[in-house]
Symmetry: D3
Subunit: 292 residues, 6 copies
């Protein structure tokens, strides 16, 4: 059974999959161990219970491969696809015991990630037709960063930096340390890996101009009004990328998009998402029941 | 600096703290590394931006202790306490660089856990005065099981089993394997660690009676109507604990509580919780700014 | 080759298997590396040298699977089965080098666990026909908890809590902290996961009664005489489970069983067990020798 | 608190300490968490209950340092010292909760290792006055190799190779692969790290001579009779070290020692040792009770 | 003792430090264990034996902190500083045993990293006064990526992407997959985190123009002649960053720099560096000797 | 796909392979993820670009097996074999994405190790026909100890101790602690595992004689002149092994060899080696390009 696919060699994903299993299995699944015969086999179906966008099927595959390489997994849809209630998204076959043991851990990944993808798609839909793209932030659930940002993509939105190594973002404290916008941009440019863009948070039009002239690649307009954002766009847009952020809602995002900014970022896309409901049904040598 | 407190020796908590830091720091925080001077010190305050119940301060302490043992941390409130917007919940002091680097990871824990505690308290309030207690489930975010269940407690609700080793719960598939309720209870009782209660999912009054007679300690009444639950209570209650579950809302929970069940369980307490907003403010040798 | 079976996803078992290999292999098996040709294959048999109860064959499988997935393993008996001297319990086939390298680590697991199973069966035999069951304790060899308790089961005895998360056990220090038996039981009941039984150590009949009335599920009668145990049984037995412990021997256990207690626990079942002797014989492309 | 001492930087010891804690704490010590107040402090004494040789106090220190660096530990005796029943071997002081939580894991190390040291001393005493030294083997409990061999030393016996990287030991299978004793010694000598001795298992006097002539440093006389061993000694002793092994008892060892061999090895020194009994007593802000 | 400094929270650095110690200590430092008394203390000096640029002192600190937190470490120079033969770069004090045990692992880091810093400075000196900067590559020693790139910086050169997540670099195979330069740039831009620059490898002037028009941020001119590089610069320079690479030497780099490219990258800066010699001298309660 | 071969069960090798992948992949290979279609397959060839001795092919195999077990790997030469420019050393086949992602990590191992093997062979050639063997030291790149020493062997030189557990080596500081050569040898002999040789560093003929009489197995003649070495050889050679070290070059080594010492050790064999150039070429469903 293929173990990894899109997440091949990704240590963060491997670690969270193992952590999810070890925290749920502990010293052993006592119910399954003492109730399910050793040789029994089963086949299963994972079924959507709500309409939404699926994300996380490769992680479900990894959960069961980690538990028992003898389990086979076949996904019927791809991550990013819309599903309807009742739709089968994946089929499994193998020894009954690990299928029962792994069900909850697998569904926790799938429901959490699909919830994010579903929410991201709805939010991003409000920006369609504008030139602005919806971005996520680093407000993600501990240990789930890579998976949540992957789900944002599956939903049709875009990723801001993956972590503190994936982009320079100079915030107010950093500016204060350096004594000003220009000095901060120069300090960061002088040393950072040259493959990373330099972004800086600005609060006024003057700061925006100063940052652009110092060679920043991108501005973070934090809690600016749409009209201020438009003013910045008119002055420095085109030569520099513009991102707005601050307690974003789809409506606010749309109004910023109308101002011509490049990006609207919203932490709520990850931390505010609900779960999308899925169930797993097992056939144990004949009968079909919900394992949930 | 004390490193662990309530989570002393808890490998799951240590692992998720390390994973959260490694996924956010990656090959290094390029902004801080090249902008903040090596010797600079700072002091910080973590401040609530919304009203709610705080949970996660010991984890914030662990995050910063893991980053740099030279950071001191002092909490001004205890987990489980209600806080108001603007209230300072903790103070930190130490080298500026790790305080900036660790801020997001620390707040992600605190906002996520406090969101769960806040939601749990509101939900549990609906059961006050009844004899029923609100329970969580295993529908938790991967890697965060121990912390989310801890937050549920901080909010005033209660924990169902921590994982598959922390209680026997015989579900429909297990019953099917054994050929019946009685056989399943006996199989599990014969072998499970004797310190665990035996719980079984039942769908009818007859099954409830059969389970009680077989020696089960607890029944899971899955998707039963309140009137059915009351019937079960009248027949076997007292001799056996009763739990109801199934797409629970506070209103539904209250109506079940009125039927005299012991426990109402609700996955939404963990997976459906929003985040409670906190900010961290840093004074860098004189100036005060939001590090966020 | 199936990797895990009964221990699928069990992080504790995976960790001790890896630790056992890494501590024995270190920077490499110098003898095998420089003496055994790369392409050589071998087949092997694991043979009992003493009569006893086998336990640990799935771990032997894991050891070799971890070393080299190309090795095939077939067990001829199941854990828990009695074996006679000379009886072949498993056959292996694959590259010669990892078979030689893994032999000692694999046998160390098998001999240690089978020794426990063998001793547990002999001890438990003394309780046959009584209503009492033999329990293990947490006096286990570091890192081997799950495997030793599994071996106790294979031998026909039963498991007390797996660890500090697998049951509430209120000891004298805890009682002292709370100021009494009743207060301690209530404190623990108020907060513990509801799927765990509440057990408390008592030293007198009065304490036993107080604990039962406070709602404890189980009493630990520590170093009580059989006649005191009988008195407790007569007073609270039936409504609460009774466990006796304290430097237990088969003879003492039998005398307690006669008093009608439910459980007799004995740390000696794990820490006092000897090893059951096994050898591994290898055929290296023709010849047969003891690899030991 | 000093964390490591004799085991500084030893990854194997660090791993088994962490594994022992994580397997015993799991998702958390529910009894202590809900019964012991957060701020309570305690002091403790570890007391011998039997006469024997102590080994493992530095590991006890590591267990509590890993749990909570705020705990202080002071040993009153050194590993390798004989103790009497009632003798205090160490004192601890710190937060009450981690002292209670860590007690069992700490004592499991101490009782297991002290049991080995005690047995090794008794066994080695039989060889006093002879020129022979008692050696251990690789028959050790999984994950505990370094600690068990350390305990053997503390008892006054000696270590054979620590693992497969710590010495060349050519056994029958290796000889068969090479086609003879001489060829096997030459193959191993040609490639092994030059800091390791070359030892080879021989069954006859001729093989012993052949091995000595081929340049082996040490012979393993497996299951030879004392008279055969003497014959080998007379022929090649002095130019090469001689070790005898095979179901060794103190009496058999003494008879081999009389034949003038250099080493007698006995797996039973590690796998056959019992535990030496210790208790830990805690004073919780005034009262003194056995925490066990 | 401060444990981390510049590498606070960096999991990669923590891992390689632990791996370096565990591979060198194995089951224990037998010489020190049996020769150095437990309580002996020592003080040490690390001294440069050659002229060069120092890098790695914070890692030396981490090595000894990991071994024993009781060791104090004080650096007399900072990474990036030039040192002369005989110059003391750091002083240590603490228990003698871990100072002896950790010496080799610590010096291996320091000599390797200082060798890279020294070579990078010499190479970079050839580009002084030009507008071009010297970059490293991903040709680094396994497990040492972060440290080697840090040493490159300490030497005065600059970092290309830290890893495959730290920048988009479209190579020939990727172009072939997409069917052309323009398609490849658009595919990567559509999905990559927006904080990363898009770089693409081009072989002709036409490809360079096509890439610039498609919106790439940076071009990799692989094995182009200086005159071709100049042509590309004249055509698209200014609007896009230009990097040249390919078996670079200082002389070749200088000739490219004269063509006005922005970056010259050279794998040899990391993989081709020698070691800079340092020794550690210890005073063991009076005497001073080279511990090496 | 066979995963391990010669390094089966070697935890150090497994760790450095995983660390090399995780440091290079980070949160994911953004270029490949967004440019290469999920189902695309590829075949590859690894080709030597320089003449030299190959070492590391089993590690290349492990890198790709770790990334994706569906990749097949076939080596056309064995480690230790001489290769010519243009010679294909291995072929791979499998999913295109992990082949692209793993290329750099795999080649970094192969080029580094082959560089060491190539250098070792050239150095060792100078000692051919003498009785002396070339040894490596512990001056190895952090985390790469086992692989670098393996490469030394592949090149035809020999290994000194693998780590501090693989041999006793008494240096000047140890001697000073003990108060003399004789005392130090006796202290080490009294306690070390009996399978390890005892080596001691000596600076004079008198010390050499004293060490030999005390029972040392091997002398390290540090920075002695060839004539002093010859004097030592004449006095104690034959009864004890002689090693010379100290800023060794092939010429110096040859002159020592002429004096009749047994071993010449040279750290430069590992730390001074360059890389041997290899490229990987991929055919992506039809086209052939350099993936480099």
């Amino acid at each position: 059974m293929e173990k990894t696919g899109i997440f091949a060699g990704n240590g963060h994903v491997r670690d969270i999959v193992r952590l999810a299993l070890s925290e749920d299995i502990g010293t052993g699944d006592v119910t399954t161990a003492f109730v399910v015969p050793a040789g029994m086999r089963a086949s299963g179906r994972i079924v959507a219970k709500q309409a939404g966008v699926v994300a996380g099927l490769p992680v479900v595959r990894m959960v069961f491969a980690e538990l028992d390489p003898a389990i086979t997994f076949r996904n019927l849809v791809e991550d990013g696809q819309a599903v309807q209630p009742g739709q089968v998204v994946a089929e499994l076959e193998g020894p009954a015991a690990p299928l029962l043991t792994g069900e909850r851990a697998a569904l926790n990944f799938l429901m959490h990630m699909s919830g994010i993808a579903t929410g991201a798609r709805a939010f991003a839909a409000r920006l369609e037709g504008t030139g602005a793209r919806l971005l996520d932030t680093r407000k993600t659930t501990p240990g789930n960063r890579v998976l949540e940002k992957y789900a944002v993509q599956a939903g049709g939105a875009f990723n801001h930096r993956m972590n503190l190594a994936g982009g320079v973002l100079i915030k107010n404290n950093h500016i204060a340390v350096c004594g000003g916008v220009r000095a901060a941009v120069l300090a960061a440019s002088a040393k950072s890996p040259v493959t990373l863009k330099i972004e800086i948070e600005v609060r006024t039009l003057d700061e925006a101009v100063e940052a652009a002239q110092a060679g920043a690649d991108m501005l973070l307009l934090d809690h600016m009004t749409p009209s201020m954002a438009r003013e910045v766009r008119d002055r420095v847009g085109g030569s520099i990328l513009l991102e707005v952020s601050g307690n974003m809602t789809p409506d606010k995002a749309a109004s910023y998009a109308d101002c011509g900014v490049d990006f609207v970022s919203a932490g709520v896309v990850t931390y505010g998402a609900g779960w999308l409901d899925f169930s797993m049904y097992l056939d144990l040598e004949g009968g079909a029941q919900n394992a949930g």
